[in-house]
């Protein structure tokens, strides 16, 4: 198991953002995380990569208890993340952005190796011709690719992808999906949040569903898609109209 999340809860004041969430992720898989807006998906990512510690529970990464470890430490242990809200280092060039990922990621490369690694990662995501541009000048789709390249360059064991497809057009989505598959071929495990249902259903080996901070379903994509609770969480109670009509 590369990642084990055991009974994790997170409270913000009176808000229960995560409620007793447990699951496991084995090496080389793609795990999809879905759920309605505000279900706690990004919060779950934040507790896993150390942005904040869970209120309760335990995170085990590659056999080690990493609960409450700071984010930079998690990055060095081989956990990379691409963000929903892209966060480039705007004044640095695209190439430098990715180099930072390689320099301070799992391997802690020196500058020369990091430069080479950055070039590889940029060609993989198709940004190599923009390498010398300031990162701030990229458009949204390109920034998402940059996030991916930065995560990749760190040579992580596990990558957390937070809505990397959101805001992309269909052809960009196809390209990004190919990139994600290529990353998996390379040996990294992937844990992704996605709202583009068709995409996540086709790419994931396994799906877990969060609603109001609790895990309500877990299983292969087809099974989850037909799960009654999941449909309710997304669409409300499908039989509600029937019942109202009957009265």
């Amino acid at each position: 198991m590369i990642l084990q999340v055991k009974n994790v809860s997170k409270q913000f004041g009176g808000l229960q953002a995560l409620n007793d969430v447990s699951f496991e992720l084995s090496e080389g898989r793609i795990l999809g995380l879905i759920g309605p807006n505000g279900a706690g998906k990004t919060t779950l990512f934040n507790t896993i990569n150390g942005v904040f510690a869970p209120t309760q529970g335990q995170i085990v990464f590659r056999g080690e208890d990493v609960t409450g470890q700071p984010a930079y430490n998690m990055a060095r242990r081989g956990l990379a993340r691409a963000h929903q809200v892209v966060r480039p280092l705007s004044d640095l060039t695209v190439h430098e952005n990715v180099m930072v990922g390689a320099c301070f990621g799992r391997e802690g490369l020196g500058l020369r190796q990091a430069a080479r690694r950055a070039e590889e990662a940029l060609s993989r995501v198709g940004l190599i011709e923009r390498a010398e541009q300031p990162a701030g000048s990229l458009n949204v789709a390109q920034k998402k690719r940059l996030e991916m390249a930065r995560a990749l360059a760190a040579q992580p064991y596990l990558i957390l992808l937070d809505e990397v497809l959101a805001g992309l057009n269909p052809s960009e989505i196809t390209a990004m999906m190919a990139t994600i598959r290529a990353i998996r071929e390379q040996g990294a495990t992937i844990f992704m949040i996605e709202h583009v249902m068709q995409a996540i259903m086709s790419i994931s080996d396994h799906i877990i569903v969060l609603d109001y901070g609790s895990l309500i379903a877990s299983g292969p994509p087809q099974e989850v898609a037909n799960n009654q609770k999941v449909i309710e969480a997304y669409l409300g109670d499908p039989r509600l109209t029937e019942r109202l009509m009957a009265e």
Binding site: V51, N73, R76, R87, L89, V100, C103, L111, A114, R150
Partner: protein, 285 residues
Amino acid sequence: MFAHLSASLVDGLLIGFVYGIAAMGLSLIWGVMRVINLAHGATMALGMFCIYGLFTKLGINPYLGVPLAALLALLFGFLIYGVALHRVMQSGYLYTLLATFAVNMIIIGVGTTLFTTSPRNVDFSLGSLQMGSEILLGTRLVAAVASVVITVALYLFLYFTRTGKAIRAVSNNRAAAELMGISSTQVLALSFGLGTMLAAVAGGLTATFFPFTILSGGAYQLKSFVICVLGGLGNPLGALFGGLILGALEGIVPVFMPVSWVPVVEFGLFVLVLVVRPTGLMGAK
């Protein structure tokens, strides 16, 4: 008249390089940490006294004293960061500003007790260079050259080393840098140390040609703020450029009007730049 003007312009520019170094420290601290360091001037004064002490008590050549003072200042900067700043870094500008102001008051208080406020000077000469009717002091030439070397070194460090990349990453976006594996605490402490080091070096170099007291730093700190605004805060090369402008003004203004007008012109320019081009002449962001 012209010879006089050009000589005093050159003289001013030479000092401007040193102003630039001091401002660069302030600018680095602001750029990376978003901290307005009100202890900057006091640290400069400590640099002056450090060179003075090493020279008068131990007979150490000021130019050997400067690297020594730099090292001490780096450590002193770490200490200030750890004791006064680290815990209030998340609390906003006002808290960090007050924390550095407190450090400033402590340095000045202790310094006044130890050194009194009677002026000192480092009685050290490197001879001089005749230029027209004016004489350029060797110490100023060396200080200017040293400042250029330091600027280049800082630039190379920030742009071509791993640690430099980490500093620039944190300066750009602290949270994102943290997520990429950079411990921002280490980077912040280092940046403050480097900023403090630049202040002490500038102080040390200044001490070789101007008399000083423990209170002298205040004036230089104000100049540093003016320079940072001229050059654009958070931009080290801009700081050197701003330093040169200020130095040139200090050279030229006294040729045409009484010396007491120098600050009026400087701060007039400061206000003008803030009104017309608040991003600084070099315009960072």
